[in-house]
Amino acid sequence: MSFLTAENMTGGYGAADILHDCTITAEEGEIAVIVGPNGAGKSTAMKAVFGMLDIHTGSVKLDGEDITKLSPQARVAKGMAFVPQTNNVFPTISVEENLEMGAFLREDDISKTMEQVYELFPILKDKRRQNAGELSGGQRQQVAVGRALMTQPKLLMLDEPTAGVSPIVMDELFDRIIEVARSGISILMVEQNARQALNIADKGYVLVQGRNKFTDTGEALLANPEVRKSFLGG
């Protein structure tokens, strides 16, 4: 039994289904990556896991508990955290307040978690009084991840965290994500930069038209000639 098991999900927005019998799992402390062509339903799959759209078949289990019926907010309380692709910070409040808001549901002392986030992303400590909207794209992504980490999640979900950032920043961000996973947090990530993402992935999912096309370790997928040919550009 994996830490996260989202099985046989079928569903979408409104009438037409986007996901068809899609299964995603993630292990404790490991990185799972969803890749695939545009419109394959990658983000939709992640949203389904987080409860942001209705699925009419299948189930989502977190740590053995069935959470299929829970709202996104309730899933946050269960230990899930989600970083949307865009609009993922509070732009006119300070970096520190962004982090505080991430921990809104927590009643205990959050200063330790905040220290950990600052250790992970030292630049944020320097800019903690600055408004998040004034930061660069890469720094904003760090704030977004940091905000999500403030809930002390057991599963961190990232929707294309490297969209629109430079290659150097991307590598840096991936390093941080590996670091987060090492600390025992499961990571589920949707990525456009398939090759780099599979490089760091313990497990990879290739989705095509809402269905699981290939599922294997990141390494194996990178080595798979068919995957290379169709999705990694040779």
């Binding site: 907010q73 946050v76 949307p84 609009n87 509070f90 808001m101 905000r147 809930t151």
Partner: protein, 340 residues
């Protein structure tokens, strides 16, 4: 003697422009803060805000009359200040009811802002009707206690000038209360968890939901603060001038203008906008004859006109003009509020 002339000019200017504009600006700022907070969190321009002010003030007046009939007074200060907390509470209750029965439905449906705006017009009608029904549409004076902090005559004696500056109690109260309220509000918004969650919600609603911020609570607190601000602003305005349901409805324009000029959704902007509108309004409609006569050297010179840029009849046209200028050149307002 040259120095005296300038001081006299300054005294005239303070008496007729500076002090009244500071007072009026504080009243507008408090009103605009309410509008801007509602805009930030609920994302619509609340047309019922003027009538919320009227309703809150009406309750304050009713309690003032009750206290007066019991023989309770506040010494040199207006009794209305004692009644203010009660007015705030009743106004909060009414506003929360309006949210429960009107706005919440559209929030659940995720209706467009323009629908909220029309709904707020409905609420405006009901509140306006309530006020007229309960206290009548007449002009009402409810000020009591001392009238002046410093009289013009005393001022003249004190400084040995020909011109005096009179400061009314209501003007002093307005400025002091406005400062206290603004400090309290900013402390709440910037230092408390709930206040920060309000700002976060106003910034990015979806992310606030993901962070576990309870939208119903944020909305409720926003309404409560807006109702309190409206009651305070309305009471101060009524004490300073007078209470009339229709006048309060008409205050919508300068209040909206203040909020937009400052940048909708920005509390700091609302305050700046309030003073900007008040100062321009009063400065453009003030007759500078006397000030000019003091300023021009020599005793003989007399201005042949009032030296007034705009007739006082067009006071609120000023707020409209500023509004248009801001929309033309900087649609997000001075302090960069939310756009589109």
């Amino acid at each position: 003697m040259e120095g005296m002339e300038i001081l006299n000019a300054l005294a005239v200017f303070s008496n007729y422009v500076l002090v009244p504009a500071l007072t009026y600006g504080s009243q507008l700022a408090l009103g605009a803060l309410g509008v801007t907070l509602i805009y930030g969190v609920l994302r619509f321009s609340n047309f019922a805000h003027g009538d919320t002010m009227a309703f809150g003030t009406m309750v304050v007046i009713l309690f003032t009359w009750l206290f007066q009939s019991w023989g309770i007074s506040f010494g040199p200060l207006p009794t209305a200040l004692l009644a203010l907390p009660f007015g705030i509470l009743v106004c909060i209750a009414l506003v929360l009811l309006s949210d429960k029965f009107v706005y919440r439905f559209y929030r659940r449906k995720k209706a467009a802002p323009v629908i909220f705006m029309i709904a707020s017009m409905g609420v405006m009608f009901v509140m306006n009707g309530l006020v007229r029904f309960i206290i009548s549409p007449k002009d009402i004076q409810f000020r009591d206690g001392e009238r002046f902090i410093i009289k013009a005559r005393e001022f003249k004696q004190m400084f040995g000038l020909d011109e005096g500056v009179a400061i009314k109690v209501t003007q002093g109260i307005t400025v002091v209360i406005a400062i206290v309220v603004v400090i309290a509000l900013f402390w709440f918004l910037n230092r408390t968890r709930t206040g920060k969650s309000m700002r976060a919600f106003s910034d990015n609603e979806d992310l606030a939901l993901l962070s576990g911020i309870n939208p119903d609570k944020v909305v409720m607190i926003t309404w409560m603060i807006a109702a309190a601000l409206a009651t305070i602003a309305g009471t101060l305005y009524g004490l300073d001038k007078s209470f009339k349901a229709f006048t309060y409805f008409m205050l919508l324009l300068p209040i909206f203008a203040s909020a937009i000029v400052g940048g909708l959704g920005s509390p700091l902007g609302a305050i700046a906008g309030g003073y900007l509108i008040a100062f321009t309004e009063i400065m453009l409609t003030y007759a500078y004859k006397k000030v000019a006569e003091y300023m021009v050297p020599g005793d003989e010179w007399e201005a042949d006109s009032l030296m007034q840029l705009l007739s006082t009849d067009y006071k609120f046209a000023v707020s409209f003009m500023i509004l248009l200028l801001v929309l033309l050149f900087r649609p997000t307002g001075i302090f960069k509020g939310k756009s589109v």
